[in-house]
């Protein structure tokens, strides 16, 4: 028996775009293999969301108030039983915060190979995938031993629209196999980000700093450029983790998705997690000293050189207006 399983993901009552991207990849695999696509959704009130998973042939839901907040220990185990129920041999899991907890657990509990950082998957002639390693600087083609595997897929690897239809979308509710009260992990509550700072998602101009800005002291120069253009400063994850700018300024997977008219990056290498949050900006201008920086793959304009030489030149020209 063969088949494809997609681990569905939702937050605050909405199925995530990444889930539909995975369903799009699953539909592509189904078209060549003839296999059935099963999607799983676990949570509180997920039965209402299930019908929207139009790219699946069969949708298994586990709907329990105990799963109101994602529980890594419990929901990973629920997904293991849903994969077994589906009979699937190819399991697609999003490479996201919830998917990280699920995918490696499935690999260990099912005893099958796992490939992370995938951008595409193929089933003909054995299971293979293409992966982006080393923050997107290296692309690898990999093969797995055997005919069963889990693939953790990077967000943005397919068009979400391809996963909204094309399946029979038959919904089945499965009794919750795990008692949330019996777990060693207790979810206490969700917290939303604190407001009060600049909302970078509504800014028309962003100057975005990355590792190349080198120190907190240099952010003032980027701020001067942002001021000259009437915009704001944002950053990639390493800058936020260093505490140089607040979390509210983070662009990317664990931060915010931005679509400004001008996105000008200074020393941002462009890891897949970052590109996910900015690739739809109207005009992307990337400055980096490394000609191989993946940011140039999504940029409209690029300059290779020392950002500290360029910054004062830009501020001079723009601040004079």
């Amino acid at each position: 028996m063969s088949g494809i399983f997609v681990a569905g993901e939702h937050l605050q009552g909405e199925v995530t775009e990444t889930t539909f991207e995975l369903l799009a990849i699953a539909r592509g695999l189904a078209a060549t293999s003839g296999w059935q696509v099963t999607a799983g959704l676990v949570g509180a009130g997920v039965s209402g969301m299930a019908a929207g998973l139009g790219g699946a042939d069969r949708i298994l839901t586990v709907d329990d108030p105990g799963w109101e907040i994602f529980n890594p220990e419990g929901q990973s185990a629920v997904f293991a039983s849903l994969v077994a129920e589906s009979g699937a041999t190819v399991v697609l899991v999003p490479y996201t915060s919830t998917g990280m907890d699920i995918s490696s657990y499935l690999a260990e509990s099912l005893g099958i190979p796992l490939v992370s950082f995938c951008t595409s998957v193929r089933t003909e002639g054995g299971l293979t995938a293409t992966c982006r390693l080393h923050a997107g600087k290296i692309e690898a083609d990999v093969a797995v031993d055997g005919d069963r595997a889990i693939f953790a897929i990077l967000s943005g690897s397919a068009s979400a629209d391809g996963g909204r239809s094309g399946g029979a979308a038959v919904v089945e509710e499965i009794p919750n196999p795990i008692d949330p009260g019996s777990l060693r992990t207790k979810a206490l509550g969700l917290a939303l980000p604190e407001g009060g700072d600049v909302d970078i998602t509504s800014e028309e101009v962003l100057v975005v700093v990355g590792r190349g800005i080198e120190s907190a002291d240099n952010i003032g120069e980027a701020q001067a450029l942002a001021d000259a253009m009437g915009g704001s400063v944002a950053a990639s994850r390493p800058i936020i983790d260093q505490g140089w700018l607040p979390k509210s300024r983070q662009v990317g997977k664990s931060g915010l998705t931005v679509k400004p008219r001008i996105y000008l990056s200074l020393g941002v290498s462009g890891a897949p997690e970052h590109l996910e949050g900015m690739k739809d900006a109207e005009t992307i201008i990337a400055i980096n000293s490394d000609p191989q920086a993946p940011i140039f793959s999504v940029a409209h304009y690029g300059w290779v050189g020392d950002l500290f030489d360029l910054l004062p030149e830009l501020v001079d020209r723009l601040a004079g207006d």
Partner: protein, 267 residues
């Protein structure tokens, strides 16, 4: 519950931190002759940045509620001795290098080494970085927890000791987080410590080198059980559709200002 509350009920924990070297992310990567792997002969290695955050969070918890911090480092790169001495200088109580000159290991093989080393020890909490840039076959924290039958949370951005529990904050996206209480022993994959990893004076690292606090455990590289084989690697064509601006900073600045004004901004 605030940190102050946690300090009141918190109990000192024995924390083990798992450390892995990764190719230096700021270095240019080159491929080997047949395009099957990186050219590892000339690569510089550094501590995985997420592991550095895991160490920082462990040290913060120890400072708040007492206990011990033990670091276990994979002997897969020469740079690991320096990494472990640095951890001692920062405040780790003991440091152990697992094996020597083991070469590149899959996450599955790393997991086997760490599980073997952990089975000889007692601990309340195991922490490591949520991921590394070359984690082709999954995450160490999740795999180690599954092998040991322990609860696990990944993408953690804050830890506080309780009494027989830890309270952790997990990040989803867009700044949305959830809090959990987890019974110990437990395993955590750390995304970011509550503060940036601390710096430590070179003189203290030198002291740590001379203190003899670093021990080495003789361990062989486990057989790779990942079931994942790299067929070929390549450096993606970064240029893509970008118009690369030629010239020095002055002519580049002229062109960039033209592009910005063309978009109706800054004029």
């Amino acid at each position: 519950m605030s940190n102050a509350d946690n300090e009141r009920v918190g109990r000192g924990m024995n924390i083990v931190v798992l450390l892995r070297p990764v190719p230096d992310p700021v270095e240019e990567l080159e491929l080997n002759g047949d395009g099957s792997d990186l050219d590892r002969d000339y690569l510089g290695y550094v501590l995985n940045e997420f592991d550095d955050h895991a160490l920082e969070e462990a040290l913060l918890v120890k400072e708040e509620t007492g206990g011990t911090v033990t670091v276990l480092g994979l002997g897969t790169a020469d740079e690991m001795d320096q990494v472990l001495h640095t951890a001692l200088a920062k405040g780790a109580d003991s440091a152990v290098k697992l094996g020597d000159d083991l070469g590149h290991l899959s996450v599955s093989a790393q997991t086997e080494l760490f599980v073997a080393a952990l089975s000889d020890r007692t601990y309340d909490l195991v922490v490591t970085g949520v991921q590394a840039a070359d984690d082709l076959d999954g995450q160490v924290a999740v795999r180690v927890a599954a092998r040991l039958g322990l609860p696990q949370v990944s993408v953690v951005v804050g830890v506080a000791a309780g009494d027989g529990t830890v309270r952790v904050t997990k990040e989803f996206w867009g700044g949305i987080t959830a809090q959990y209480d987890i019974d110990t022993p437990a395993v955590l994959g750390i995304q970011a410590a509550r503060q940036a990893p601390r710096y430590v004076a070179v003189s203290l690292i030198r002291q740590a080198q001379q203190s003899g606090g670093l021990t080495e455990e003789d361990r062989d590289a486990p057989e790779d059980s990942s079931g994942v084989r790299i067929i070929s690697v390549r450096i993606p064509d970064a240029g893509g559709g970008a118009e690369m601006i030629p010239g020095d900073e002055s002519s580049a600045a002229d062109r960039i200002v033209e592009i910005i004004r063309g978009a109706g901004v800054g004029s």
